[in-house]
């Protein structure tokens, strides 16, 4: 399933990376501790987090994640958007909290794989 399909199904707002939504999503990881995500997320995962500062882009880029979804309508910092554009990392925003959003992403990914 592509990032764009998840954006559409969950009505996510694409804050940046509109041209980079065609990457295949291989899974997801939810967390606000950067080392946790660094250690445990895998290539192609969508990352659900409430962190909005620019260091999330470095983590997503180094781990080659498919994108970052911010929860609770959180807004990314200006520097975060600039870095994400440069690194071609999509930043998406949902009005849902982490638990609900992760559940919906999980359902979409597993339904597609059945």
């Amino acid at each position: 399933m592509k990032v764009s399909e998840i954006v559409e199904a969950l009505k996510l707002e694409t804050v940046c990376g509109l041209d980079n939504l065609e990457k295949e999503v291989t899974g997801g990881y939810t967390g606000d501790l950067l080392s946790d995500v660094m250690g445990n997320a895998r290539e192609g995962y969508l990352w659900v987090t409430r962190q909005v500062h620019q260091n999330i882009v470095a983590v997503a880029s180094l781990k080659e994640l498919a994108g970052i979804i911010l929860i609770n309508s959180s807004r990314p910092a200006r520097e975060t958007i600039e870095k994400a554009e440069a690194e071609k990392i999509p930043i998406l925003v949902s009005d849902l909290p982490a638990f609900e959003l992760s559940g919906r992403v999980y359902n979409l990914l597993t339904a597609k794989n059945l």
């Binding site: 501790l33 950067l34 080392s35 660094m38 250690g39 260091n55 470095a58 880029s61 180094l62």
Partner: protein
């Protein structure tokens, strides 16, 4: 450097990390990653090196004054050395325990300082060596084997 040694180096270079500057945190790791990619190192090993160097970089930014990072790529392995000028680690055994951290509130609010950095470094490198002297600094050496 002897000629033979120079020839067997696929890459050798150094980078600098500035302590305390979270705005530039990750730049050295990003550089290392792109160098390894260009050298044709397999993707999973490049990502391992990226994790290891990023965690070391964040430790320098969080705690040290500055550091030099030496990257050496030879046939069979990638070696990343991070030599910092900083407070050193009084108890390495404690510092290696997952969850143990001396990070302040500001660092923790950003999602760093979870006490996982050194564990990630150890887990994602094939050889890991740490030397530290309180009041002077810490020297990390990580090796990742390549085909």
């Amino acid at each position: 450097m002897p000629v033979e040694e120079a020839n067997s180096n696929l890459y050798s270079g150094s980078f600098h990390i500035e302590g305390g500057n979270f705005n530039t945190a990750g730049i050295v790791s990003t550089n290392i990653k792109s160098i390894l990619k260009k050298l044709g190192i397999p993707g999973d090993l490049v990502r391992k090196a990226a994790i290891v160097s990023y965690e070391a970089e964040i430790n320098v930014v969080s705690y040290a004054k500055k550091a030099v990072v030496n990257l050496m790529v030879k046939p069979g392995f990638v070696q990343i050395e991070v030599i910092d000028e900083g407070p050193g680690i009084p108890n390495i055994e404690l510092a290696m325990q997952e969850g143990w951290s001396t990070a302040d509130q500001k660092i923790r609010e950003m999602g760093f300082g979870a006490g996982m950095g050194l564990c990630n470094i150890k887990n994602y490198s094939d050889n890991f060596h740490i030397e530290t002297e309180v009041g002077k600094g810490t020297h990390l050496k990580m090796i990742i084997h390549t085909p």
